[in-house]
Symmetry: C2
Subunit: 190 residues, 2 copies
């Protein structure tokens, strides 16, 4: 059986990764979602095994020791990780799976999953900035410089990605992500 | 301005390239169609500059001499070519353009346009054949061998393509082609 594709959706914090992914999964059931494990307490309404796998710190580090995470990280005193087994099982069944993760996490995933397909979600302000910077003189030099510097810092990562989507319209961003998934299924593997 | 993408739609004769492309262009006006030049007489209803550029043999070879074709070939005593200028102009304007061509032609286009995106349209019988060949014993060995040989001959070209689409359902084939076009616009160029 043809192995499924692993998609990694990443981008700067606050860009709307979760919203785009949620909408995608609602409209499109031909892809699985990689559920993260975490040691943070569950919030009201969150379901264990659906939103997250809620683990104790002991359970979490047992999995770390057993190399059961594709990547893991500490964020604000809590631990988060991507369980390897579910991803691997899904891919082996020929199904696609998508993983939502921050830029640091995506970098770690890349080390163990170089064949995954990496999608960078860009904030609309990036493209706006680009447009603005292309039109000379519409912004004073200093603030232009600062914006450019910040943008450059985050954009540096872009070269490591396969696709970029500007999230200036939710529907369009979801359509593009869907197109990427469909197109990648048609890709001739060499 | 970001340069447009050149898409090359190819595949074995009779696979339905023209039908898929016609439907795509009807549903989706965000891509241009590369009009071929030919020395064959126009047929009833064909419009010069829309269906083809109808040229005399002299005009055709004037263009050949001036390197004005991306590729050209003789088919059943008539000459066909892909005018370079319209393709180049469209790409420079940042618009995508799609070219429908046989496998031989696609091979020539690849020499001058290695950056184009190559899509191979497969006949449903290929996938059917594959399925059938995977199930042992459902066909006698000799005819299985012949089918396999023919399929292999044409499939050899597949490795030179970026995408494959099995044309077992027109709507789905068009959807996939559209997805490829949308996805390629999101591709991070390295």
């Amino acid at each position: 059986m043809k192995r499924g594709n692993l998609f990694v959706l990443s981008g700067p914090s606050g860009v709307g990764k979760g919203t785009v992914l949620k909408r995608l999964l609602k409209e499109y059931d031909d892809i699985e979602y990689s559920i993260s494990a975490t040691t943070r307490p569950s919030r009201r309404g969150e379901i264990n095994g659906k939103d997250y796998f809620f683990l104790s710190v002991e359970e979490f580090f047992q999995m770390v020791d057993n190399n059961q995470f594709i990547e893991w990280a500490e964020v604000h005193g809590n631990f988060y990780g991507t369980p390897r087994e579910y991803v691997e099982k899904t891919l082996q069944e020929g199904k696609d799976i998508i993983l939502e993760i921050d830029i640091q996490g995506a970098r770690k995933v890349r080390e163990s999953c170089p064949d995954a397909i990496y999608v960078f979600l860009l904030p609309p302000s990036f493209s706006e900035l680009e447009k603005r910077l292309n039109k000379r003189g519409t912004e004073d030099e200093k603030s232009k410089e600062i914006r450019l510097k910040n943008a450059r810092e985050e954009l540096k990562e872009l070269v490591n990605y396969d696709y970029q989507i500007v999230n200036d319209n939710l529907e369009e961003a979801v359509e593009k992500l869907k197109a990427i998934i469909v197109a990648e299924r048609c890709r001739v593997r060499k």
